[in-house]
């Protein structure tokens, strides 16, 4: 794991129309090559944070930088460094799986590099001849794998995954986690993910940040947090730090 800073978030606040607070005064950093998990209940601000870092929405105040590049000032440059898998990400239902992979990767690569990336995505997806069928015929798990394959094959420096295994069966969830871990290990891709699944975070993430009502209430490695709070697992940690 490299010691450089991949993501720097400082005093980040997002207030939506009508005064709804997405995140409030959020500060954390992710080291290069790290898998960092944001956990918290629904509405705690996980998706808001990921969307800001992925340049999809803008913060009300504070800043976020990806490898030193400000997400508000230079969003296009940031998008070259990251790729984002939204929660329940799908694909164009009338395209075939293959066409979807090719389309998404053609936005980043061309020529030989594109062909290599497409082949890699096909291998990651592992959907075989199903890729020739329209996406509308896919199960939820297949769509998830398809979308994940395109973001992984693009080999971004920072991979942002919003609830990557939500709605997937155990087998598919394990498969997805293994792929994420492999890409982090083999290509040094920094991963920022959000999850409800404490077990998943415990097994996969090097460090976690616990969000509650828009604020970061605890941060550290899973073991550190367990020791600090005297808990047996991450669920207990969460219950204790939220107060």
């Amino acid at each position: 794991m490299s010691s450089g800073v991949a993501v720097e978030v400082r005093n980040l606040t997002k207030v939506y129309g009508g005064g709804v607070v997405g995140v409030s005064d959020l500060t954390f950093a992710i080291r290069e090559g790290e898998i960092y998990g944001l956990i918290g209940p629904n509405g705690s601000g996980k998706t808001t944070t990921l969307r800001i870092i992925a340049t999809l929405i803008k913060p009300t105040s504070g800043f976020a930088k990806v490898f030193g590049v400000d997400v508000v000032k230079e969003p296009l440059k940031v998008r070259q460094l990251v790729n984002y898998l939204p929660e329940e990400a799908g694909a164009y239902r009338d395209l075939t799986g293959y066409d979807f992979i090719r389309f998404m990767l053609s936005l980043r690569f061309s020529g030989r590099r594109l062909e290599e990336a497409v082949s890699e995505a096909i291998e990651i997806a592992g959907l075989g001849s199903t890729l020739k069928r329209p996406v509308r015929t896919y199960s939820k798990g297949m769509k998830r794998l398809l979308a994940l394959s395109t973001v992984l094959a693009s080999r971004p420096r920072l991979l942002i995954l919003d609830e990557p295994t939500t709605g997937l069966d155990v087998e598919r969830s394990i498969q997805v986690r293994q792929i994420i871990a492999r890409y982090n290990r083999e290509y040094g891709i920094t991963v920022l993910l959000s999850s409800h699944n404490m077990l998943e975070v415990e097994n996969l993430c090097h460090r976690v940040g616990i969000l509650y009502r828009g604020k970061l209430v605890a941060e550290g490695s899973v073991e550190e947090l367990k020791v600090r709070t005297g808990s047996r697992n991450l669920e207990e940690v969460f219950m204790r730090v939220r107060g």
């Binding site: 939506y16 009508g18 709804v20 705690s44 990251v82 984002y84 799908g90 694909a91 936005l107 828009g214």
Partner: protein
């Protein structure tokens, strides 16, 4: 029991959709606007007819006792017949003139029932609109009816004879119009108006399709959950917007082409061999329009259509980008199509003169630009066209800019959020 709940749910779900309510309001506004425009048009028509009927300007090209007696009777009947030496003199004071041409007396006295007395008329038009043309034509036809009714009475007075009543004729080809200092037959004017309405309708219709495609496709991308992935890619948002506009244009053209071909096939299949003359008639009218308006006639449709497609595609992208789903997008884009067509054609039914102000209005609507093209060509006033086209192009660029701005704002992800009660909530 369950049926009641099911029905209530069906209705409630739709009524709870703000876009549905918005579409109802838009439709109400649309029909109220159409009613208002029609009312204004009819009021103008009634007023014009009232003014015109106050005096009947007449030019006599043949002096005969019959015509003199007929004019006396006409004056006694409608009280304000004024005789002029020439058509020009009559038109300098009036907006129309009825002409008793050479051969009128011969036609009236002929034993041959096929030979009828003919009148002529010249109408001066300040603007080329259905209302102004129809109101003037109805006045000269009213004069013809009065003359027709007075003819047997006059013949009896003059010659003490009773003849079988002959209708005095005033066919369309005997009615000339003076519009923008050009003399055109009534058939020609009607043909130009028909061409204008058809061109406006085609442009507005295809614009509606483009808006619908752009809006629903953009919104559908959100539903398919691929939208956020797309926006996270290293592609300038303006390229995404332009791609959506160009895509909707291609689809709208394809759709319009299929509809056009299908309609032509339908007309061809419906036509019996005996009615093939109808087809020739249409071809003649089209040929006439091209001859009259020059070879630019096609340009009159193609240029506004091009601008209209980009404009409407951009509007569709804006609608789709702020809509949470394709149902909302289609509910919003449907009334827009009505507005394109309704407002586009409304101008044709008002006696609005084409001037810089109305040229700007037509430029904003885009669909009536073929009409501006034609008026500009007839009046030899390219300024009007420049103003109309300039407005449309400027607005087109502005709508594209708005779409790009929206794509660079949170709203494209979050959709429109209606203000709620002020309270701090967490998300």
């Amino acid at each position: 029991m369950a049926l009641r709940h099911l029905v209530i749910r069906e209705i409630k779900v739709t009524l709870k959709n703000p876009a549905f309510i918005a579409s109802l309001i838009l439709l109400f506004v649309f029909y109220a606007a159409v009613g208002g425009v029609t009312r204004v048009g009819v009021s103008q028509s009634v007023e014009e007819v009232r003014k015109m009927a106050m005096r009947i300007p007449v030019v006599v090209e043949e002096s005969s006792p019959l015509i003199k007696a007929l004019l006396l009777n006409l004056n006694a009947s409608v009280s304000n017949v004024k005789l002029y030496q020439s058509v020009d003199e009559a038109l300098s004071e009036n907006s129309y003139v009825v002409v008793f041409p050479k051969g009128f007396t011969e036609g009236a006295l002929a034993q041959d029932m096929q030979k009828v007395p003919m009148l002529k008329a010249v109408i001066k038009l300040d603007s080329l609109s259905q209302v102004s043309v129809q109101s003037r034509v109805s006045v000269v036809q009213s004069v013809r009816q009065v003359v027709s009714r007075l003819l047997p009475v006059t013949l009896t007075q003059l010659f003490n004879i009773t003849i079988t009543q002959k209708e005095v004729a005033l066919p369309d080809q005997n009615i000339a119009t003076i519009v923008y200092n050009r003399v055109l037959g009534l058939t020609e004017v009607n043909s130009i108006l028909g061409f204008s309405v058809a061109a406006i309708f085609v442009v507005a219709f295809v614009m509606g399709i483009a808006t619908s495609y752009a809006a629903t496709n953009t919104a559908m991308e959100k539903v398919e959950k691929a939208f956020e992935m797309l926006l996270a890619q290293p592609v300038p948002r303006r390229e995404i917007v332009l791609a959506k506009i160009l895509g909707s244009i291609a689809l709208a053209l394809l759709n319009a082409a299929v509809v056009l071909i299908a309609v032509l096939v339908m007309i061809y299949l419906m036509a019996s061999p005996a009615s093939s003359t109808t087809g020739n008639g249409v071809a003649t009218v089209i040929g006439f329009d091209v001859a009259l308006l020059g070879k630019n006639a096609i340009t009159y449709i193609v240029l506004p259509l091009t601008i209209g497609l980009i404009y409407s595609g951009a509007i569709g992208v804006v609608l789709g980008s702020v809509s949470p789903d394709e149902r909302t997008a289609s509910v919003l884009s449907m009334p827009i199509t009505f507005l394109y067509i309704g407002l586009g054609i409304a101008g044709m039914f008002l006696s609005l003169p084409i001037n810089p102000v109305t040229a700007v209005i037509y430029g904003v609507l885009v669909a009536p630009l073929p009409y501006v093209f034609i008026i500009s060509e007839l009046s030899k006033n390219p300024e009007l066209l420049a103003i109309g086209m300039g407005t449309a192009i400027t607005l087109c660029i502005m709508v594209i800019a708005i779409a790009i701005i929206i794509f660079n704002r949170d709203i494209v992800i979050l959709g429109i959020r209606l203000p709620r009660r002020r309270k701090i909530e967490l998300e």
